[in-house]
Amino acid sequence: MSQPLPPLKPLPIKERLSVLFVERCQLDVLDGAFVAVDATGVRTHIPVGGVACLMLEPGVRVSHAACKLAAQVGTLLVWVGEAGVRLYSAGQPGGARADRLLYQARLALDEDARLKVVREMYRRRFGEEPPQKRSVEQLRGIEGARVRAMYQQLAQQYGVKWQARNYDREDWDQADIPNRCLSAATACLYGVTEAAVLAAGYAPAIGFIHSGKPLSFVYDVADVYKFETVVPVAFAVAGKPVHNVEREVRQRCRDMFRKTRLLERIIPDIETMLDAGGLDRPEAQGVVDAAFPEDEGLGDVGHRA
């Protein structure tokens, strides 16, 4: 037997397609490649290493080998319910960079640094300086009011009847069309953002504006892009008679991510937002040194080579 192929390495997030949805199939590995096999036995290769995150819809079964391969190529698997209501997620190992996790935790625990990060997020999100001398809680309040106004304004712009952002997780079909569109759209954004947060070597749970949720930091980062990318898409679809709104929303979200170059911007932006905290970045030496040296990878710093 000849020598084995070179090791599999994750590619940088910015080189990849944003999201890919699969439903009703068996995901497996064939000749080392990621395949989706449907009920009729049709095989479809999925270039899993070229996708930032793979969204698994109901009816998907995943083999052990497929999960292992997704992990090796640094692709996030996200289990989503009907219309993108998230159920569970795993697939890309996170937390590979102790230095970055400690840095992020230090920023979040230092009240002064945390406020600076929150202010930077506010600045990026609304394109203007946040009011002076406000606490994180006060800024959160201001943000909430602005967000409600933006929903209202966009709804009007696209001719959508809008009441409020609400949905009942227990009773999905009760949600109105605009809310369903928004949920499907934000699911796409959260998937890509979580993949980027992990790839950049940070913890999804350690948030600055949001806290106490497994994806707090993902929500913080995603909010910066939300009104620029997915919300207009959701309202545009909600304002038109479309047969399958969720499907339409996610395809347009993908176009929007491409148009706004989201995948290229997101990791550098995360770094800038954390830099605003004003704490020195940790020296990588001495913190991540392992018993044996790690291979240099092609991927982002949070990817395990």
Binding site: L5, E15, G32, P47, G49, G50
Partner: protein, 100 residues
């Protein structure tokens, strides 16, 4: 834009290519990646090709707008013509000597 064509390649290499590229016809893979990743993919081809042969073409700043590299024995060989890179098609006898 990036195209890799594999002929007579072992299944594990074909599977490996499908991890990043789309196999649009048997042994024909397409994708869009930067130089670093192209080199990484070609390294996989080099190490996994065994007795097969391969060609990779990509969009480049060259006058033709693209460039390509080959590996393994094939009747089609790259040929330099007055600074331009073309392909010569060898007659059968020559290619047999070349080990086909």
């Amino acid at each position: 834009m990036l195209v890799i064509v594999l002929e007579n390649a072992p299944p594990r290499l074909r599977g490996r290519m499908a991890i990043w590229l789309l196999e649009i016809r048997a042994g024909v893979y397409v994708g869009a990646y930067n130089r670093k990743i192209r080199d990484y993919l070609w390294q996989q081809v080099e190490e996994g090709l065994e007795d097969g042969n391969a060609v990779m073409a990509w969009q480049a700043a060259a006058e033709a707008g693209f460039d390509f590299v080959t590996l393994g024995a094939n009747r089609r060989v790259p040929a330099e013509f007055d600074g331009a890179k073309l392909v010569s098609f060898l007659p059968p006898a020559v290619s047999e000597e070349a080990g086909e």
